[in-house]
């Protein structure tokens, strides 16, 4: 008998624990390349949109990609149609996906975040909102997700604006992600997700100038998996809300490692670039891993005794 992969995450029923990492699978563009098969066989149990911002953004100048040992750096720069463009053009298109929809949002100010959360939260098509806090607060200059205080202050503004689950996407570029996770939980976040990419740069091998148009970017892929595992481990130990783990997941065994450390769900990011259907393979490998261990369901997510 096949193990039961289903779970409930922030009140949302999911068929299995594998999501996509925000910004690593564009279901609309993928539909142009692969047609209806993308929707029919979407390998994710929930679909997380690329991060949207209040205003339309073109993104960073090219080049935007740099391959590294066992990973890649991206400096994409959040190109998106802006809140209105997303609601009018993309959201209606995403509704055809057979899974719950989570919209990722980011703004350079608290009022900007507030507008995003409020407007997105009003839409019935949206099951959850992921709050990407890797952006500097234009007023304080501080990067929200690097500071527990900034994160809590942001949550205090946006939490009252919606009943939808709020998932805070943590940044790994700080000394204590667990402290930020605690602040998020204290501020009423329903879950945290981690890790986002690590700040990195690469040089043009010929000129020795920084290769990326934006000078530096974020590292993802297997190179960062062991860092992600450690941050997930630390965060799980300190919050009682669910944790969505990601960073370099390539195989079912990798996914199981995050789940075994207490993550409730996982996300496949960069691996989808190597194979658009990678998450489907990850899922079937996860099933095999469970079967070979004689398990008929997922490890139960760790709930620490010292919850906030």
């Amino acid at each position: 008998m096949s193990p039961d992969l289903s779970l409930e995450l922030c009140g949302i029923r999911l068929e299995h624990p594998i999501l996509n990492g925000s910004g690593t699978f564009d279901a609309i563009a993928a539909h142009r390349a692969f047609g209806d098969a993308v929707d029919e066989r979407l390998p994710f149990s929930a679909y997380v949109s690329k991060t949207i911002t209040p205003e339309r953004r073109a993104g960073n100048p090219p080049p935007r990609l740099y391959e590294t040992p066992a990973g890649m750096i991206n400096s994409i720069g959040l190109p998106n149609k802006g809140l209105e463009g997303f609601l009018m053009e993309d959201l209606p298109d995403l509704v055809r996906l057979p899974v719950p929809l989570c919209v990722s949002v980011m703004a350079p100010s608290r009022p900007g975040f507030a507008a995003l959360v409020e407007r997105v939260g009003q839409r019935d098509e949206v099951a959850a909102i992921e709050v990407n806090v890797s952006c500097p607060n234009v007023k304080s200059g501080l990067i929200v997700g690097e500071q527990p205080g900034e994160t809590l202050a942001l949550l205090e503004v946006i939490r009252p604006l919606t009943d939808k689950p709020l998932i805070v996407k943590l940044t790994p570029n700080c000394s204590d992600p667990a402290a930020v996770a605690r602040a998020a939980a204290e501020g009423g976040a329903d879950a945290v997700s981690l890790i986002n990419t690590l700040r990195a740069t690469g040089l043009d091998p010929t000129t020795l100038d920084p290769w990326l148009g934006a000078t530096s970017g974020g590292l993802s892929g297997p190179a960062i998996r062991s860092i992600a595992l450690d941050q997930v481990r630390r965060v799980v130990a300190q919050v009682s809300i669910p944790v969505i783990g990601m960073g370099g997941i390539e195989t079912g065994a990798d996914a199981l490692e995050f789940l075994a450390l207490g993550a409730s769900a996982v996300a496949v990011g960069t691996a989808s670039f190597r194979d658009p259907a990678a998450a489907r393979r990850v899922r079937s490998e996860l099933v095999s891993e469970l079967v070979s261990r004689g398990l008929d369901r997922l490890p139960s997510p760790h709930v620490p005794s010292t919850s906030t």
Partner: protein
């Protein structure tokens, strides 16, 4: 516009059926049992088995224009012309017959027909440079099958950076080379300039693929003479299916296109420049 052929969702494992040297390049053939025949101008994301290698790269797959495709009883034989310039192309160039080739595709927007490009365009001028001749081979055949008259102009830097001419065997090809080892000594765009000064300018559409500087020269020549042109461009790609936003090419009107889904074949007037940072060798 010629419709793109959709790819099966997910990458698939094919077997390498041939891998031969042609000049300084390799002609790698794989038997694709799971995908449809591609259109000229489309590409595939290719990878060997697994990933990693000396230095931990390649990790990502690499984009390759399909150079020729032939549907048979067992599947579609896909030909790729490969110039080994780094770890990714190096792994592919070293594949042996029987080895696994993982591919996703066909991807991207194919070439249009001349009359799709301009009502008056009856003939085609194909301009290829270096490894960029690859997609012109399948385009030449596709156009020939439709009876479109065409001229093929191919340029190479030097002997080490040339090859694949056999793919064009049944057509008249004019060549140029910077070192003079074949044809006109100079740039392939010199040949194009001469052609466009003749009658062809009024009735032809230009199709070009090659180094960024060559494409930019083609773009300027065609713009100056109002000749419709399509360029098959290159830029580093991580995914090939519109998901990473890494393949940004500046649009004439501002902003960027994603070359993998909005290209790789673009109308010359769509883009701000063909000199996209990061796309050179």
């Amino acid at each position: 516009m010629t419709d793109r052929v959709l790819a099966p969702f997910g990458r698939r494992r094919c077997a390498v059926v041939a891998n031969e040297a042609t000049g300084g390049y390799r002609l790698i053939s794989a038997l694709d049992e799971g995908g449809p025949p591609p259109r000229a101008g489309q590409f595939y994301m290719l990878a060997g088995a697994g990933w990693g290698g000396t230095g931990g790269r390649p990790y990502l797959p690499r984009a390759f224009s399909v150079a020729e495709a032939e549907a048979g009883a067992d599947g579609v034989r896909l030909d790729f012309l490969c110039e080994a310039v780094g770890p990714g192309t190096g792994v592919l160039a070293a594949l042996a017959v029987g080895d696994a080739l993982h591919l996703t595709g066909p991807l991207g927007r194919p070439f249009s027909t001349p009359c799709e490009l301009a009502p008056g365009a009856a003939g085609a001028i194909l301009v290829g440079g270096g490894i960029g001749i690859a997609p012109l081979a399948i385009l030449r055949r596709a156009l020939a099958e439709r009876g479109v008259p065409q001229r093929v102009l191919l340029g190479f830097r030097d002997r080490a950076h040339s090859g694949g001419l056999d793919l064009f065997r049944c057509s008249e090809v004019r060549t140029a080379s910077e070192d003079g080892h074949t044809g006109h000594q100079g740039y392939v765009t010199d040949l194009l300039a001469v052609l466009l000064e003749g009658d062809d300018a009024d009735s032809a559409a230009v199709y070009a693929c090659g180094p960024a500087a060559m494409l930019e020269a083609v773009r300027e020549l065609c713009a100056a003479r109002d000749v419709p042109a399509e360029l098959a461009m290159e830029t580093p790609m991580a995914c090939g299916f519109g998901s990473c936003f890494g393949c940004a090419v500046p649009l004439a009107g501002g902003g960027y296109m994603r070359l993998c889904v909005d290209g790789p074949v673009v109308r010359a007037e769509e883009i701000e420049t063909a000199m996209v940072a990061g796309s050179g060798h």
